[in-house]
Protein backbone atom coordinates (compact mmCIF):
# COMPACT_ATOMS: atom_id res chain seq x y z
CA UNK A 1 0.00 0.00 0.00
CA UNK A 2 1.31 3.40 -0.82
CA UNK A 3 0.45 6.47 1.11
CA UNK A 4 0.27 9.79 -0.62
CA UNK A 5 0.93 12.83 1.50
CA UNK A 6 0.10 16.29 0.36
CA UNK A 7 1.06 19.62 1.83
CA UNK A 8 -1.71 22.15 2.07
CA UNK A 9 -0.81 25.15 -0.08
CA UNK A 10 -0.04 28.30 1.86
CA UNK A 11 -2.85 30.82 1.82
CA UNK A 12 -2.57 33.49 -0.84
CA UNK A 13 -1.80 36.84 0.71
CA UNK A 14 -4.31 39.51 -0.23
CA UNK A 15 -2.82 42.73 -1.54
CA UNK A 16 -2.96 45.47 1.10
CA UNK A 17 -5.03 48.60 0.67
CA UNK A 18 -2.93 51.39 -0.76
CA UNK A 19 -3.74 55.03 -1.22
CA UNK A 20 -1.95 58.07 -2.54
CA UNK A 21 1.08 58.47 -0.28
CA UNK A 22 0.83 61.40 2.12
CA UNK A 23 3.37 63.01 4.43
CA UNK A 24 6.12 61.76 2.18
CA UNK A 25 8.47 64.68 2.86
CA UNK A 26 8.46 64.15 6.66
CA UNK A 27 8.95 60.40 6.12
CA UNK A 28 11.96 61.05 3.91
CA UNK A 29 13.32 63.64 6.34
CA UNK A 30 13.02 61.14 9.21
CA UNK A 31 14.88 58.59 7.10
CA UNK A 32 17.68 61.06 6.46
CA UNK A 33 17.82 62.01 10.15
CA UNK A 34 17.88 58.33 11.14
CA UNK A 35 20.84 57.82 8.81
CA UNK A 36 22.60 60.93 10.13
CA UNK A 37 22.27 60.17 13.83
CA UNK A 38 23.87 56.78 13.21
CA UNK A 39 26.95 58.73 12.26
CA UNK A 40 27.31 61.29 15.11
CA UNK A 41 30.52 62.54 13.56
CA UNK A 42 28.46 63.95 10.71
CA UNK A 43 26.70 66.22 13.22
CA UNK A 44 29.63 66.99 15.50
CA UNK A 45 32.43 67.69 13.02
CA UNK A 46 30.84 70.67 11.23
CA UNK A 47 30.13 72.14 14.67
CA UNK A 48 33.71 71.83 15.85
CA UNK A 49 35.42 74.61 13.89
CA UNK A 50 32.71 77.28 14.36
CA UNK A 51 32.45 76.55 18.10
CA UNK A 52 36.21 76.76 18.51
CA UNK A 53 36.17 79.91 16.42
CA UNK A 54 33.49 81.46 18.61
CA UNK A 55 34.98 80.33 21.92
CA UNK A 56 38.68 80.84 21.27
CA UNK A 57 39.36 82.95 18.19
CA UNK A 58 36.62 85.55 18.71
CA UNK A 59 37.59 86.40 22.31
CA UNK A 60 41.27 86.42 21.37
CA UNK A 61 40.62 88.81 18.50
CA UNK A 62 38.49 90.92 20.82
CA UNK A 63 41.28 91.17 23.37
CA UNK A 64 43.89 91.93 20.72
CA UNK A 65 42.11 94.30 18.38
CA UNK A 66 39.34 96.05 20.28
CA UNK A 67 39.89 99.12 22.35
CA UNK A 68 39.50 99.20 26.14
CA UNK A 69 36.01 98.04 27.18
CA UNK A 70 35.18 97.06 23.63
CA UNK A 71 36.56 93.54 23.51
CA UNK A 72 33.20 92.00 24.54
CA UNK A 73 31.39 93.91 21.83
CA UNK A 74 33.87 92.77 19.21
CA UNK A 75 33.75 89.20 20.52
CA UNK A 76 29.97 89.26 20.12
CA UNK A 77 30.38 90.70 16.61
CA UNK A 78 32.66 87.87 15.55
CA UNK A 79 31.21 85.00 17.55
CA UNK A 80 27.71 85.33 16.13
CA UNK A 81 29.13 85.46 12.63
CA UNK A 82 30.49 81.96 13.25
CA UNK A 83 26.97 80.80 12.38
CA UNK A 84 27.83 82.04 8.90
CA UNK A 85 30.57 79.44 8.82
CA UNK A 86 28.63 76.69 10.56
CA UNK A 87 25.55 76.72 8.31
CA UNK A 88 27.39 76.46 4.97
CA UNK A 89 29.89 73.88 6.22
CA UNK A 90 27.16 71.70 7.72
CA UNK A 91 24.91 71.95 4.68
CA UNK A 92 27.74 71.09 2.31
CA UNK A 93 28.69 68.04 4.38
CA UNK A 94 25.04 66.97 4.58
CA UNK A 95 25.01 66.94 0.78
CA UNK A 96 27.57 64.15 0.90
CA UNK A 97 24.73 61.94 2.12
CA UNK A 98 23.03 62.31 -1.26
CA UNK A 99 26.16 61.06 -3.01
CA UNK A 100 26.40 58.12 -0.62
CA UNK A 101 22.71 57.39 -1.15
CA UNK A 102 23.17 57.17 -4.85
CA UNK A 103 26.28 55.02 -4.74
CA UNK A 104 25.70 52.78 -1.73
CA UNK A 105 22.24 53.54 -0.38
CA UNK A 106 18.57 53.36 -1.23
CA UNK A 107 18.38 56.19 -3.78
CA UNK A 108 17.21 53.96 -6.63
CA UNK A 109 14.46 52.58 -4.40
CA UNK A 110 13.31 56.16 -3.82
CA UNK A 111 13.43 56.87 -7.55
CA UNK A 112 10.99 54.04 -8.32
CA UNK A 113 8.60 55.03 -5.52
CA UNK A 114 5.24 56.54 -6.56
CA UNK A 115 6.19 59.98 -5.29
CA UNK A 116 7.30 63.24 -6.83
CA UNK A 117 11.05 63.32 -7.11
CA UNK A 118 11.05 66.81 -5.65
CA UNK A 119 9.86 65.18 -2.39
CA UNK A 120 13.21 63.44 -2.10
CA UNK A 121 15.08 66.76 -2.30
CA UNK A 122 12.64 68.42 0.11
CA UNK A 123 12.92 65.54 2.58
CA UNK A 124 16.70 65.81 2.57
CA UNK A 125 16.44 69.58 2.92
CA UNK A 126 14.10 69.32 5.90
CA UNK A 127 16.54 67.00 7.65
CA UNK A 128 19.42 69.39 6.89
CA UNK A 129 17.39 72.25 8.38
CA UNK A 130 16.68 70.31 11.56
CA UNK A 131 20.36 69.44 12.04
CA UNK A 132 21.39 73.00 11.23
CA UNK A 133 18.89 74.42 13.73
CA UNK A 134 20.27 72.15 16.40
CA UNK A 135 23.84 73.16 15.63
CA UNK A 136 23.11 76.89 15.49
CA UNK A 137 21.29 76.62 18.84
CA UNK A 138 24.32 74.93 20.37
CA UNK A 139 26.62 77.58 18.91
CA UNK A 140 24.54 80.48 20.24
CA UNK A 141 24.26 78.80 23.63
CA UNK A 142 28.02 78.31 24.04
CA UNK A 143 28.74 81.80 22.72
CA UNK A 144 26.32 83.22 25.29
CA UNK A 145 28.05 81.23 28.01
CA UNK A 146 31.36 82.68 26.86
CA UNK A 147 30.02 86.17 27.53
CA UNK A 148 28.58 87.45 24.26
CA UNK A 149 26.09 90.29 24.68
CA UNK A 150 22.82 89.13 23.16
CA UNK A 151 19.43 90.79 23.21
CA UNK A 152 17.15 87.80 23.02
CA UNK A 153 13.71 88.33 21.62
CA UNK A 154 14.57 91.67 20.03
CA UNK A 155 14.33 90.70 16.39
CA UNK A 156 14.92 86.99 16.71
CA UNK A 157 12.64 86.22 13.81
CA UNK A 158 15.14 87.89 11.44
CA UNK A 159 17.86 85.58 12.62
CA UNK A 160 15.68 82.50 12.22
CA UNK A 161 14.40 83.52 8.79
CA UNK A 162 17.82 84.40 7.43
CA UNK A 163 19.39 81.24 8.87
CA UNK A 164 16.70 79.15 7.19
CA UNK A 165 17.19 81.03 3.93
CA UNK A 166 20.96 80.61 4.03
CA UNK A 167 20.63 76.91 4.88
CA UNK A 168 18.17 76.35 2.03
CA UNK A 169 20.51 78.16 -0.37
CA UNK A 170 23.66 76.26 0.57
CA UNK A 171 21.93 72.89 0.95
CA UNK A 172 20.35 73.31 -2.48
CA UNK A 173 23.79 73.99 -3.93
CA UNK A 174 25.05 70.90 -2.12
CA UNK A 175 22.23 68.77 -3.53
CA UNK A 176 22.91 70.14 -7.00
CA UNK A 177 26.61 69.32 -6.80
CA UNK A 178 25.86 65.89 -5.33
CA UNK A 179 23.55 65.21 -8.28
CA UNK A 180 26.11 66.19 -10.86
CA UNK A 181 29.28 64.87 -9.22
CA UNK A 182 29.96 61.16 -8.88
CA UNK A 183 33.14 61.30 -6.84
CA UNK A 184 33.14 62.04 -3.10
CA UNK A 185 36.66 63.48 -3.25
CA UNK A 186 35.70 65.89 -5.99
CA UNK A 187 32.64 66.90 -3.99
CA UNK A 188 34.65 67.45 -0.80
CA UNK A 189 36.98 69.71 -2.79
CA UNK A 190 34.04 72.06 -3.33
CA UNK A 191 33.48 72.64 0.39
CA UNK A 192 36.17 75.33 0.88
CA UNK A 193 35.18 77.59 -2.06
CA UNK A 194 31.46 77.28 -1.33
CA UNK A 195 31.38 77.22 2.46
CA UNK A 196 34.55 78.82 3.74
CA UNK A 197 35.95 81.42 1.31
CA UNK A 198 32.83 83.68 1.31
CA UNK A 199 33.04 83.79 5.11
CA UNK A 200 36.05 86.11 4.90
CA UNK A 201 34.31 88.66 2.64
CA UNK A 202 30.87 88.72 4.21
CA UNK A 203 31.45 91.19 7.02
CA UNK A 204 32.08 88.46 9.56
CA UNK A 205 35.39 89.58 11.08
CA UNK A 206 35.23 93.23 10.03
CA UNK A 207 32.61 95.50 8.47
CA UNK A 208 32.45 95.28 4.68
CA UNK A 209 33.25 99.00 4.56
CA UNK A 210 36.81 98.01 5.52
CA UNK A 211 37.20 96.12 2.24
CA UNK A 212 38.47 97.69 -1.01
CA UNK A 213 35.56 99.12 -2.97
CA UNK A 214 35.38 96.38 -5.60
CA UNK A 215 35.52 93.67 -2.95
CA UNK A 216 32.84 95.41 -0.91
CA UNK A 217 30.72 95.39 -4.07
CA UNK A 218 31.17 91.64 -4.36
CA UNK A 219 30.41 91.21 -0.66
CA UNK A 220 27.10 93.03 -1.10
CA UNK A 221 25.86 90.42 -3.57
CA UNK A 222 26.86 87.46 -1.43
CA UNK A 223 23.84 85.99 0.35
CA UNK A 224 26.08 85.28 3.33
CA UNK A 225 26.72 89.02 3.86
CA UNK A 226 22.99 89.67 4.10
CA UNK A 227 22.43 86.64 6.31
CA UNK A 228 25.20 87.63 8.75
CA UNK A 229 23.86 91.18 8.95
CA UNK A 230 20.43 89.73 9.76
CA UNK A 231 21.92 87.41 12.41
CA UNK A 232 23.33 90.51 14.10
CA UNK A 233 20.12 92.44 13.61
CA UNK A 234 18.23 89.56 15.20
CA UNK A 235 20.32 89.13 18.30
CA UNK A 236 22.53 92.18 18.92
CA UNK A 237 22.55 95.95 18.67
CA UNK A 238 25.15 95.78 15.89
CA UNK A 239 22.80 94.69 13.13
CA UNK A 240 21.56 98.10 12.07
CA UNK A 241 25.09 99.21 11.25
CA UNK A 242 25.77 95.99 9.32
CA UNK A 243 22.60 96.52 7.28
CA UNK A 244 23.48 100.18 6.74
CA UNK A 245 26.89 99.13 5.41
CA UNK A 246 25.11 97.11 2.74
CA UNK A 247 22.17 99.34 1.83
CA UNK A 248 23.21 102.82 2.98
CA UNK A 249 19.68 103.53 4.24
CA UNK A 250 18.42 104.55 7.64
CA UNK A 251 15.23 102.52 8.09
CA UNK A 252 16.43 99.26 9.70
CA UNK A 253 13.21 97.33 9.06
CA UNK A 254 13.27 98.22 5.40
CA UNK A 255 16.93 97.22 5.12
CA UNK A 256 16.26 93.95 6.96
CA UNK A 257 13.38 93.19 4.62
CA UNK A 258 15.57 93.88 1.60
CA UNK A 259 18.35 91.65 2.91
CA UNK A 260 15.88 88.90 3.71
CA UNK A 261 14.50 89.23 0.20
CA UNK A 262 18.00 88.77 -1.20
CA UNK A 263 18.65 85.66 0.89
CA UNK A 264 15.21 84.27 0.01
CA UNK A 265 15.71 84.89 -3.69
CA UNK A 266 19.02 83.04 -3.65
CA UNK A 267 17.41 80.20 -1.68
CA UNK A 268 14.41 79.90 -4.02
CA UNK A 269 16.56 79.95 -7.15
CA UNK A 270 19.01 77.39 -5.80
CA UNK A 271 16.21 75.11 -4.59
CA UNK A 272 14.43 75.26 -7.94
CA UNK A 273 17.68 74.38 -9.70
CA UNK A 274 18.39 71.51 -7.30
CA UNK A 275 14.92 70.02 -7.76
CA UNK A 276 15.05 70.37 -11.53
CA UNK A 277 18.47 68.74 -11.85
CA UNK A 278 17.64 65.96 -9.41
CA UNK A 279 14.42 65.09 -11.23
CA UNK A 280 16.26 65.13 -14.54
CA UNK A 281 19.07 62.95 -13.24
CA UNK A 282 16.53 60.43 -11.90
CA UNK A 283 15.71 59.40 -15.48
CA UNK A 284 18.62 58.75 -17.81
Amino acid sequence: MTTATTTAPAAVLPAPAISRPTNVVPALALRRLALTIRSPRAVAIPLLAPVLFALVVAPALGNTLAGPGQHRTYMTFVALAAAGLLIPVNCMFTGLGVLTDRQHGAMRELLVAPIRRSSIVLGNLLAALVITALQVSVLIFVVALRGAQFHTGRHLVWLVASAVGLAVFVYSLAETFATKITNAEEYTGLVPPIAIVPFFFAGTLYPITSLPGWLAGIAKVLPLTHAVALFRYGLTTQGEQALHNIWGMTDPTRMALLSLAVVSAYAAAALALAIRLFAKAGTS
Partner: protein, 318 residues
Protein backbone atom coordinates in the same frame (compact mmCIF):
# COMPACT_ATOMS: atom_id res chain seq x y z
CA UNK B 1 -6.56 45.98 -14.53
CA UNK B 2 -9.02 43.92 -16.57
CA UNK B 3 -8.33 40.28 -17.29
CA UNK B 4 -7.74 41.07 -20.97
CA UNK B 5 -5.11 43.73 -20.27
CA UNK B 6 -1.55 42.47 -20.28
CA UNK B 7 0.29 43.10 -17.02
CA UNK B 8 3.27 44.33 -18.99
CA UNK B 9 3.42 45.35 -22.61
CA UNK B 10 6.53 46.59 -24.43
CA UNK B 11 6.16 47.78 -27.99
CA UNK B 12 9.29 48.46 -30.03
CA UNK B 13 11.25 49.94 -27.13
CA UNK B 14 14.46 51.59 -28.23
CA UNK B 15 17.14 53.21 -26.08
CA UNK B 16 20.09 54.99 -27.60
CA UNK B 17 22.48 56.51 -25.08
CA UNK B 18 24.69 59.51 -25.87
CA UNK B 19 27.59 58.50 -28.08
CA UNK B 20 25.17 56.57 -30.32
CA UNK B 21 25.23 53.55 -28.01
CA UNK B 22 22.27 51.37 -28.99
CA UNK B 23 21.48 49.64 -25.69
CA UNK B 24 18.03 48.44 -26.75
CA UNK B 25 17.21 48.19 -30.43
CA UNK B 26 13.48 47.54 -30.61
CA UNK B 27 12.17 45.15 -27.96
CA UNK B 28 8.55 44.04 -27.90
CA UNK B 29 6.79 41.54 -25.64
CA UNK B 30 3.55 41.07 -23.76
CA UNK B 31 3.24 39.42 -20.36
CA UNK B 32 -0.12 38.26 -18.99
CA UNK B 33 -0.94 38.71 -15.31
CA UNK B 34 0.61 36.11 -13.04
CA UNK B 35 3.32 35.00 -15.45
CA UNK B 36 7.02 34.88 -14.64
CA UNK B 37 8.75 36.26 -17.71
CA UNK B 38 12.50 36.22 -18.12
CA UNK B 39 14.89 38.31 -20.18
CA UNK B 40 17.90 36.05 -20.66
CA UNK B 41 21.12 37.22 -22.17
CA UNK B 42 24.75 38.07 -21.47
CA UNK B 43 25.89 41.20 -19.68
CA UNK B 44 25.36 44.19 -21.93
CA UNK B 45 22.54 42.60 -23.94
CA UNK B 46 20.13 45.39 -22.95
CA UNK B 47 18.16 43.59 -20.23
CA UNK B 48 18.71 46.08 -17.42
CA UNK B 49 18.06 49.04 -19.73
CA UNK B 50 14.75 47.43 -20.70
CA UNK B 51 13.85 47.07 -17.02
CA UNK B 52 14.93 50.69 -16.52
CA UNK B 53 12.49 51.84 -19.20
CA UNK B 54 9.68 49.81 -17.65
CA UNK B 55 10.41 51.20 -14.18
CA UNK B 56 10.67 54.85 -15.33
CA UNK B 57 14.34 55.36 -14.54
CA UNK B 58 15.38 55.22 -18.20
CA UNK B 59 13.58 57.32 -20.79
CA UNK B 60 12.95 55.39 -24.01
CA UNK B 61 14.30 56.95 -27.19
CA UNK B 62 11.23 55.56 -28.94
CA UNK B 63 8.56 52.93 -28.44
CA UNK B 64 5.90 52.51 -25.81
CA UNK B 65 5.40 50.46 -22.68
CA UNK B 66 2.49 49.91 -20.34
CA UNK B 67 2.08 48.37 -16.91
CA UNK B 68 -1.45 47.25 -16.13
CA UNK B 69 -2.59 49.23 -19.16
CA UNK B 70 -1.01 52.47 -17.88
CA UNK B 71 1.48 54.21 -20.14
CA UNK B 72 4.87 54.24 -18.42
CA UNK B 73 6.11 57.45 -20.03
CA UNK B 74 2.87 59.41 -19.70
CA UNK B 75 1.98 58.42 -16.17
CA UNK B 76 5.17 57.29 -14.44
CA UNK B 77 3.92 57.82 -10.89
CA UNK B 78 0.85 55.63 -11.46
CA UNK B 79 2.95 52.83 -12.94
CA UNK B 80 5.40 53.06 -10.06
CA UNK B 81 2.47 52.66 -7.65
CA UNK B 82 1.61 49.22 -9.08
CA UNK B 83 5.14 47.90 -9.43
CA UNK B 84 8.27 47.26 -7.39
CA UNK B 85 11.88 46.55 -8.21
CA UNK B 86 14.58 44.36 -6.74
CA UNK B 87 17.78 45.77 -8.16
CA UNK B 88 20.86 44.00 -9.39
CA UNK B 89 22.99 45.26 -6.50
CA UNK B 90 22.04 46.12 -2.94
CA UNK B 91 19.78 49.19 -2.79
CA UNK B 92 19.08 49.51 0.93
CA UNK B 93 19.91 51.82 3.80
CA UNK B 94 22.56 49.68 5.42
CA UNK B 95 22.85 51.64 8.68
CA UNK B 96 19.11 51.22 9.30
CA UNK B 97 17.43 48.04 10.47
CA UNK B 98 15.56 45.78 8.10
CA UNK B 99 12.29 46.87 9.67
CA UNK B 100 13.10 50.56 9.16
CA UNK B 101 13.78 49.87 5.49
CA UNK B 102 10.46 48.05 5.17
CA UNK B 103 8.46 50.73 7.01
CA UNK B 104 9.82 53.44 4.74
CA UNK B 105 8.63 51.48 1.71
CA UNK B 106 5.16 51.18 3.27
CA UNK B 107 4.98 54.94 3.72
CA UNK B 108 6.28 55.79 0.26
CA UNK B 109 3.81 53.42 -1.42
CA UNK B 110 0.91 54.65 0.73
CA UNK B 111 0.15 51.28 2.30
CA UNK B 112 -2.31 51.33 5.18
CA UNK B 113 0.03 51.11 8.23
CA UNK B 114 -1.85 48.38 10.09
CA UNK B 115 -2.30 46.20 7.00
CA UNK B 116 1.28 46.92 6.02
CA UNK B 117 2.67 45.68 9.32
CA UNK B 118 0.70 42.45 9.05
CA UNK B 119 1.90 41.92 5.49
CA UNK B 120 5.44 42.73 6.56
CA UNK B 121 5.28 39.94 9.16
CA UNK B 122 3.68 37.46 6.75
CA UNK B 123 6.18 38.03 3.96
CA UNK B 124 9.19 38.08 6.31
CA UNK B 125 7.98 34.81 7.75
CA UNK B 126 7.48 33.32 4.28
CA UNK B 127 11.11 33.92 3.31
CA UNK B 128 12.58 33.33 6.78
CA UNK B 129 13.96 36.73 7.75
CA UNK B 130 11.67 37.63 10.68
CA UNK B 131 14.51 37.14 13.17
CA UNK B 132 16.71 39.60 11.28
CA UNK B 133 14.37 42.55 11.03
CA UNK B 134 15.62 44.49 14.05
CA UNK B 135 19.28 44.25 13.07
CA UNK B 136 21.04 46.87 10.93
CA UNK B 137 21.10 45.72 7.32
CA UNK B 138 24.88 46.22 7.34
CA UNK B 139 25.11 43.00 9.39
CA UNK B 140 23.14 40.91 6.86
CA UNK B 141 24.73 38.42 4.50
CA UNK B 142 24.23 38.93 0.75
CA UNK B 143 21.42 36.36 0.62
CA UNK B 144 19.66 37.81 3.67
CA UNK B 145 19.83 41.29 2.21
CA UNK B 146 18.40 40.08 -1.07
CA UNK B 147 15.51 38.38 0.78
CA UNK B 148 14.83 41.62 2.61
CA UNK B 149 14.71 43.47 -0.71
CA UNK B 150 12.26 40.92 -2.11
CA UNK B 151 10.01 41.28 0.94
CA UNK B 152 10.24 45.07 0.67
CA UNK B 153 9.30 44.97 -3.00
CA UNK B 154 6.17 42.95 -2.23
CA UNK B 155 4.90 44.99 0.72
CA UNK B 156 2.67 47.19 -1.40
CA UNK B 157 1.11 44.22 -3.17
CA UNK B 158 2.48 45.21 -6.58
CA UNK B 159 0.89 43.88 -9.74
CA UNK B 160 4.32 43.64 -11.32
CA UNK B 161 7.60 42.73 -9.62
CA UNK B 162 10.85 43.42 -11.47
CA UNK B 163 13.80 41.27 -10.46
CA UNK B 164 17.01 42.49 -12.05
CA UNK B 165 19.56 39.68 -11.86
CA UNK B 166 18.17 38.59 -8.47
CA UNK B 167 20.90 36.11 -7.58
CA UNK B 168 23.96 37.71 -9.09
CA UNK B 169 26.97 37.60 -6.76
CA UNK B 170 25.47 34.98 -4.44
CA UNK B 171 26.96 31.54 -3.83
CA UNK B 172 25.25 28.41 -5.14
CA UNK B 173 23.54 27.39 -1.92
CA UNK B 174 22.19 30.87 -1.28
CA UNK B 175 21.04 31.11 -4.90
CA UNK B 176 18.99 27.93 -4.53
CA UNK B 177 17.53 29.15 -1.23
CA UNK B 178 16.53 32.32 -3.04
CA UNK B 179 14.91 30.33 -5.86
CA UNK B 180 12.74 28.70 -3.20
CA UNK B 181 11.94 32.09 -1.67
CA UNK B 182 10.91 33.54 -5.03
CA UNK B 183 8.78 30.47 -5.82
CA UNK B 184 7.10 30.72 -2.41
CA UNK B 185 6.45 34.41 -2.85
CA UNK B 186 4.96 33.81 -6.28
CA UNK B 187 2.63 31.16 -4.93
CA UNK B 188 1.56 33.38 -2.05
CA UNK B 189 1.00 36.59 -4.00
CA UNK B 190 0.28 35.69 -7.63
CA UNK B 191 2.44 38.63 -8.68
CA UNK B 192 3.57 39.03 -12.30
CA UNK B 193 7.35 38.75 -12.40
CA UNK B 194 9.68 40.24 -14.98
CA UNK B 195 13.21 39.09 -14.32
CA UNK B 196 16.53 39.52 -16.04
CA UNK B 197 19.23 36.95 -15.70
CA UNK B 198 22.27 35.53 -17.37
CA UNK B 199 22.06 32.34 -15.31
CA UNK B 200 20.58 29.51 -17.32
CA UNK B 201 19.41 27.41 -14.36
CA UNK B 202 17.69 30.44 -12.85
CA UNK B 203 15.83 31.18 -16.08
CA UNK B 204 14.82 27.56 -16.54
CA UNK B 205 13.65 27.14 -12.98
CA UNK B 206 11.82 30.39 -12.34
CA UNK B 207 10.38 31.54 -15.68
CA UNK B 208 7.23 30.47 -17.47
CA UNK B 209 8.48 32.14 -20.63
CA UNK B 210 11.82 33.45 -21.72
CA UNK B 211 12.93 36.09 -24.17
CA UNK B 212 16.51 35.53 -25.23
CA UNK B 213 18.11 38.94 -25.72
CA UNK B 214 21.15 39.64 -27.83
CA UNK B 215 22.57 43.05 -28.75
CA UNK B 216 19.42 44.88 -27.68
CA UNK B 217 16.97 42.62 -29.54
CA UNK B 218 14.85 39.62 -28.63
CA UNK B 219 16.02 36.74 -30.79
CA UNK B 220 13.45 34.21 -29.57
CA UNK B 221 10.65 34.06 -27.01
CA UNK B 222 9.06 30.87 -25.74
CA UNK B 223 8.76 28.63 -22.71
CA UNK B 224 12.03 27.08 -21.49
CA UNK B 225 10.64 23.65 -22.34
CA UNK B 226 9.88 24.59 -25.95
CA UNK B 227 13.21 26.33 -26.35
CA UNK B 228 15.04 23.23 -25.16
CA UNK B 229 12.86 20.99 -27.30
CA UNK B 230 13.88 23.01 -30.35
CA UNK B 231 17.43 21.69 -29.89
CA UNK B 232 16.42 18.05 -29.60
CA UNK B 233 16.83 15.47 -26.83
CA UNK B 234 20.65 15.51 -26.80
CA UNK B 235 23.62 17.44 -28.10
CA UNK B 236 27.10 16.27 -28.96
CA UNK B 237 30.22 18.20 -27.94
CA UNK B 238 33.22 17.33 -30.09
CA UNK B 239 36.69 18.61 -29.28
CA UNK B 240 38.49 18.54 -32.60
CA UNK B 241 41.85 19.56 -34.06
CA UNK B 242 40.39 21.72 -36.80
CA UNK B 243 36.88 22.95 -35.94
CA UNK B 244 36.40 24.94 -39.14
CA UNK B 245 37.20 21.91 -41.25
CA UNK B 246 34.85 19.81 -39.11
CA UNK B 247 32.08 22.35 -39.56
CA UNK B 248 32.59 22.42 -43.32
CA UNK B 249 32.66 18.63 -43.53
CA UNK B 250 29.41 18.25 -41.61
CA UNK B 251 27.58 21.05 -43.36
CA UNK B 252 28.81 19.82 -46.74
CA UNK B 253 26.94 16.60 -46.12
CA UNK B 254 23.87 18.37 -44.73
CA UNK B 255 24.46 16.92 -41.26
CA UNK B 256 22.90 19.02 -38.47
CA UNK B 257 23.13 21.91 -40.89
CA UNK B 258 21.32 24.51 -38.75
CA UNK B 259 21.95 22.90 -35.39
CA UNK B 260 25.69 23.13 -35.25
CA UNK B 261 27.99 25.74 -33.77
CA UNK B 262 31.66 26.21 -33.05
CA UNK B 263 33.21 27.78 -29.99
CA UNK B 264 36.98 27.52 -29.69
CA UNK B 265 38.00 23.96 -30.46
CA UNK B 266 34.55 22.55 -29.65
CA UNK B 267 31.90 21.76 -32.22
CA UNK B 268 28.43 21.38 -30.72
CA UNK B 269 25.78 19.60 -32.77
CA UNK B 270 22.17 18.71 -32.08
CA UNK B 271 21.40 14.99 -32.21
CA UNK B 272 17.81 15.59 -33.22
CA UNK B 273 18.10 14.06 -36.70
CA UNK B 274 21.44 12.30 -36.56
CA UNK B 275 23.37 9.94 -34.26
CA UNK B 276 26.65 10.77 -32.56
CA UNK B 277 28.24 7.73 -34.18
CA UNK B 278 27.27 8.95 -37.64
CA UNK B 279 28.86 12.34 -36.97
CA UNK B 280 32.15 10.99 -35.61
CA UNK B 281 32.46 8.45 -38.42
CA UNK B 282 31.87 11.14 -41.00
CA UNK B 283 34.54 13.37 -39.47
CA UNK B 284 37.03 10.51 -39.39
CA UNK B 285 36.34 9.89 -43.07
CA UNK B 286 37.26 13.52 -43.73
CA UNK B 287 40.49 13.14 -41.70
CA UNK B 288 39.32 15.44 -38.89
CA UNK B 289 40.99 14.40 -35.64
CA UNK B 290 38.42 14.06 -32.86
CA UNK B 291 40.00 14.38 -29.41
CA UNK B 292 36.81 13.72 -27.47
CA UNK B 293 33.08 13.30 -28.03
CA UNK B 294 30.53 13.81 -25.26
CA UNK B 295 26.76 13.65 -25.41
CA UNK B 296 24.62 15.57 -22.94
CA UNK B 297 21.19 17.09 -22.43
CA UNK B 298 20.83 20.47 -24.13
CA UNK B 299 20.80 23.65 -22.09
CA UNK B 300 19.47 27.12 -22.74
CA UNK B 301 23.03 28.07 -23.55
CA UNK B 302 22.79 25.77 -26.57
CA UNK B 303 19.66 27.63 -27.63
CA UNK B 304 21.50 30.91 -27.28
CA UNK B 305 24.55 29.50 -29.06
CA UNK B 306 22.45 28.31 -31.98
CA UNK B 307 20.72 31.67 -32.32
CA UNK B 308 23.64 34.03 -31.78
CA UNK B 309 26.79 32.00 -32.33
CA UNK B 310 28.12 32.80 -28.84
CA UNK B 311 27.75 31.48 -25.33
CA UNK B 312 25.78 33.56 -22.84
CA UNK B 313 28.73 33.64 -20.46
CA UNK B 314 31.01 35.08 -23.16
CA UNK B 315 28.65 37.75 -24.46
CA UNK B 316 30.11 41.20 -24.77
CA UNK B 317 29.16 44.24 -22.72
CA UNK B 318 27.71 47.14 -24.58
Amino acid sequence: MTSTTAAVEADQLVKIYPGNVHAVAGISFSVPAGEAFGLLGPNGAGKTTTIGMLTTTVKPTSGRATLGGIDVARNPTATRAISSVVFQDAVVDRPLTGRQNLLLHLRLWGVDPAAGRIRCDQLSDAVGITHLLDRPVATYSGGERRRLEIVRALLSGPQVLFLDEPTVGLDTRVRHDLFDAITTIRERTGVTIIMTTHYLDEAERLCDRLAIVDAGRIVVCDSPRNLLASIGPEVLDLRVANPEMALAALRGRGIAEHDIAVTGSTVTASLRDVSSQHITEHLTRFSVTVHSATTRRPSLDDVYLRLTGAHIATGTDN
